[in-house]
Amino acid sequence: MTWSELSLGPGTWVLSVLAGAVLGMDSVSWPQAMISRPIISATVGGLLMGNPAAGMLVGVVLELYSMRHPPFGAARYPDTGPAGLVAGASFAATGGQAVGALLVAIVIGWALGWLGSVTIYVRRRLNETIVSPAEELAADPALLEQRHRVAIWLDALRGGVLVAAFLVPSVLVVTLAVGSGPSELGRFAIAALVLGLAASAGAAARSSAFGVRGWPLLLVGAGVALLLILGGLA
């Protein structure tokens, strides 16, 4: 693949940054409609590059990985909105076919998700200053509204900046992996990814289960899927 074949132009970049801002806001600030989930954000990334299916594939893998980090209480979890968009767009921009590129895009998405979680932490610290002092805001409710909205816009800015900073480098890195064809070690790479997904699914299932019981249900689901595959239905 040559640089001129990439589907990432200036217009697409701007659209991606704007989408990143909206996705960045969604997970915490507004409106929590879950457009920030990887299956949406990565599909949006793919769609912007003209290949939503490539984005969706990245999104499903990231989804299975991020599912074991539910935002219970004060738990840390990956910020999957901008990260999913960057990963999905990177894979789609490079053709959405090469497995090496898929693997690199997924890892970039995962790493960027955790970087995003650090930026959320920083923003929350910043919010302490934005909504202080309490007495001043209570005396002027309009000021309270204004500061609250500023905090929301900052979250949008955070998401946009993440996409702006990482989209092009991510596409370039993923492009480097496009030409890497299957090899003997490639078998181990795919096996590692599949086993990692299985382990992640097991851990994610436990966070939804009421206690340790319920493990046979994982097998039932996998068995039904296996039957669908063998029957040619999936």
Binding site: P31, R125, E128, A198, S208, G221, L226
Partner: protein, 251 residues
Amino acid sequence: MKPLRSDQLAAWSRTFAVQGSWNYRTMVGTGIAYAMLPLLRRIYAGDPVQLRKAVERNMGPFNGHPYLCAMAVSALGRLEMDEVEPATMEKFRTALRGPLGTVGDRAVWGQWRPICIHVAVLAYFLGLGPVWSALLFLGLYNVGHLGVRTWAYVVGWEAGLGVGKLLKRSWLETWSGRLWPFNIALLGAVAMLLARSLVEGAGVSLNGTALVGMGVIAGLIAFRFPRQGGRVAGLLLAASPVLWLLGALLG
């Protein structure tokens, strides 16, 4: 003065932004006051001193599931309208924090969201296009999202101080208990279909039976030891592109 329907609608719509200024000092406290403002402005119309006091007491530390915070917003608004003692309101706020977080986390983050994701991913693997699958998730999930948010707001306003009892025996708790078996079975199916899709697209020859067997063992061990299983999953994820690129470089 009793809030108008338009005030209620404005407060409800502001609950979507209740976590907008989340911080480690007051958590969602400022967001609660922000969402309550349309109600407070009507209740204390023409009395800026009482309005200031009401805003100040509702800006204090608070936390809860963001959708169920709608219940706190309307219930606290109701207490303000009913001129309940500030000390009682403070006790009520404190008592409400735990249940709003626990019930919401278990029902929405623990069950409803994963189930909607699994259904959409299954639909994708069964042939629905990527955009339609994504829209299916958004549509399905947000029916539940809007339903819970609206229910929480309405119940909070109607029950006032009684929401704590209502929450303990609410349909959300019942449904969490009923949904989790489906959730886990769907997750097993999604993992299997995704693994098949990755193996087929990779263009490498793998012993399918051995891989399925090892995957089942890895999944079950991770279910029993989720923390360690999660770490292993992360390591395997990081290792896979490294192995692939190494293989390409070496030959």
